[in-house]
Symmetry: C2
Subunit: 219 residues, 2 copies
Amino acid sequence: MSWTKHTDEIAGLDAPARALLDTLTPMEVPKGTILFCPGEAVKGYVVMLSGQVDVNLIGPNGRDILLYRVAPGQSCIQSTLGLLGGDAYTAEATAETLARLVLIPRDVFFALLDSSPGFRRLVFGAFAERMQSMMQLIENVSFMTVEARLAALILDRSGPDGCLHMTQAEMATAIGTAREVISRRLDKMAQSGSVAHERGVVIILDRSALNELVQGAAF
Amino acid sequence: MSWTKHTDEIAGLDAPARALLDTLTPMEVPKGTILFCPGEAVKGYVVMLSGQVDVNLIGPNGRDILLYRVAPGQSCIQSTLGLLGGDAYTAEATAETLARLVLIPRDVFFALLDSSPGFRRLVFGAFAERMQSMMQLIENVSFMTVEARLAALILDRSGPDGCLHMTQAEMATAIGTAREVISRRLDKMAQSGSVAHERGVVIILDRSALNELVQGAAF
DNA sequence: GAAAGCTATGTGACGTGGTCACACAGACGC
DNA sequence: GCGTCTGTGTGACCACGTCACATAGCTTTC
């Protein structure tokens, strides 16, 4: 009780949940690990402790689109879907950084759901959050131009130095378009003076211009 | 105990859940009623008893896309999102037929979540199902051609007589495209002999041709 | 440190899809 | 019969996705 257990890193859990979860050993996976891929059977419920995992939907042509990102304390909804519906994974999860996580086996998961209000809130909350962001994604993909989504991406993911360190291919995946389109759009945005770009970096020159692009197609 | 209560129409509920739910009065709404629209506050958790409700996402240009359809026994996930996350609705739900439903107020909803495993399963199941279908939707809009989605729609929604009674505008909404595109695609499909179409009706002429169109862009 | 190889990027051509602005036709009321 | 409404057809145009390359910048290897 005096030394730190891994469950301390998960917010909002109650005592019985912690007791059960502390019997599980967290695992560590290196950057680039594919945690699961389409068609694979579900092993259990996954809670992230640290690191960053991206979940992508993969198209037949190899093009893929970022469904959501899993941050520490959050869980991977894909696994829940499988546990509740019995279906296999339809998306692929990749560790973008070194990641630590706990895998909660199927039966422990259900026991916790019944016994721990805190765990229920955790699972429900994760569900609601993902659902919300997936609806946002559908809205973006079907109603916003590539330019607006790209501008939003640049603003969202850029560091405090006003730089975004991503390749065009990564950006394309993140907003669900093709690499070539990113190339052309970046050129256009560079011509208009709102950004500059070179190999692997985009530099923000005019924040307000980017903001206008985002608003432009949003309403 | 001898006469039928409305909760009998909801499968998988246990005794405590039924007892609580039977204190609520189901309501009936006519066809065309808008149950909620973007920005509205969440009133409670909604369970359908009979009828058909469609939930659409609405774009800035008036174009809209069908997120999912709520069938009897199912619940509307939008409301759950609001209850759990506190956010307002971002989509619009319309009764496509006369519909009967129960509205479970916020506090009753949470009481049930804690007390009834059956209710939990109901809510979780609905969640998982919607999530799955939303992922399917994302996959469809971003990786399938309009032609493939249209073919799938015609096969899915047509009656046993091989006819689909929908206007082009309705089809456009259902698969998330514009009306004009439907018009052109239907023409093309009619030229190739797979369907015939007139005002408000599409008649299937060659089922296997349509199936090939669906497969064509799926893999 | 030059050759070889890989990764990131630029570009033209082409087809599909979405938008706009109409024209037109069948259905319905009065 | 005359408007009106709703559903449909069409041409022009632009944004987007795909294919097939060309090029440029890093890295590895000997």
